[in-house]
């Protein structure tokens, strides 16, 4: 019984969308609505999108997006409307510009730094391993010599 209930709950939760039930008649506009509300930041709660947030301001901004789409405004126009009022901060995907370039470039730089580090660590480990192997070879040579000498001694 319990697993069945669990599965049922899982199935229901797949279909549950965030706080909002607005539907636009045009599927393309509906798609715009969904992408836009997922790209705009809720300014009160800050680490949520306006699609996720239940805050009053987020719901007002969703209404704004909805109405502008109904009026036939494009995604760019809506994004411009929002940045004019709230600044770049409202965008989860800020435009690539002087101020935001660090945001965009930093991940690549860090990835590169990480790769360099891995490269150097591997190279150093390899070099160390080789030294050890060489040392080992020297040892076996010496052992051979010793054994030879010992064998000779036994013979005489």
């Amino acid at each position: 019984m319990k697993p069945l209930l669990f599965i049922l709950l899982l199935v229901i939760s797949i279909n549950s969308h965030a706080v909002d039930s607005r539907q636009l008649s045009d599927p393309k506009q509906q798609e715009s609505y969904e992408t836009l509300t997922k790209e705009l930041r809720c300014l009160v709660c800050q680490n949520q999108t306006i699609a996720d947030s239940n805050a009053e301001l987020a719901s007002d901004l969703r209404r704004q997006v909805y109405e502008m789409l109904q009026q036939g405004k494009s995604e760019q126009e809506i994004i411009r409307f929002m940045t004019y009022r709230y600044g770049e901060f409202v965008l989860y995907k800020p435009a690539f510009a002087g101020k935001t370039s660090l945001l965009w470039i930093a991940p690549v730089v860090f990835l590169f730094m990480g790769l360099m580090m891995v490269f150097f660590v591997i190279r150093r480990k390899r070099a160390a391993a080789k030294v050890q192997v060489d040392a080992l070879e020297i040892n076996t040579e010496k052992q051979k010599k010793v054994r030879n000498l010992l064998e000779k001694g036994e013979l005489s």
Partner: protein
């Protein structure tokens, strides 16, 4: 030697960033409105809904635009300071009663005092969106030409009045 210097350097860099982070205010989002014209609105007055106010009515004077609501706790903290400010200095304060019930707002002004020359109503928060309001209270300073010159987020303190608002208003009054 290098073995000790590198971690030390990394630590210093980290410490500097963390130190800077302590002084950041993540809630203080820079307003994109500075030196831009105050967005237009035509809004009913709280005490006389049949009368409307627009920013054009205030051209030629320096005014403060204070966003408030009776449900807002920090506004209650700010209120006595605005009362004092309005009483002591000849300053025009326009209130934007943001997403509030008119009755609640009127009661609030009656019990706590009214520092506003006029309060206008923004029940569905549209004027708020036009001004990029995201947290009440907020206070804008608008110059004689109708340009927004300063935005203060959060409650205004007595210190802010003396150190920020008064000098700025004096400066803006001197402009033609």
């Amino acid at each position: 030697m290098l073995k000790y210097i590198i971690p030390l350097l990394l630590f210093i860099i980290l410490a500097v960033f963390l130190g800077l982070g302590l002084n950041l205010k993540p809630n203080d989002i820079p307003s994109p409105f500075i030196n831009k014209p105050a967005p237009e609105f035509t809004a009913p007055k709280l005490n006389a809904p049949e009368e409307k106010l627009t920013p054009a009515d205030l051209k030629g004077q320096v005014w403060l635009f204070n966003v408030w609501a009776s449900w807002c706790v920090s506004c209650r903290a700010e209120h006595p300071i605005l009362n004092q400010f309005a009483k002591q200095y000849a300053v025009v304060i326009i209130g934007l009663n943001y997403k509030d019930e008119p009755e609640d707002a009127k009661t609030w002004l009656k019990t706590l005092g009214n520092p506003y020359n006029v309060s206008i109503m923004d029940q569905d928060g549209r004027i708020g969106i036009d001004y990029g309001v995201y947290g009440v209270p907020e206070t804008f300073v608008i110059d004689k030409k109708g340009l927004i010159r300063y935005k203060h987020t959060g409650p205004v303190s007595a210190d802010d009045v003396q150190k920020i608002f008064l000098p700025l208003i004096t400066k803006l009054e001197a402009e033609s």
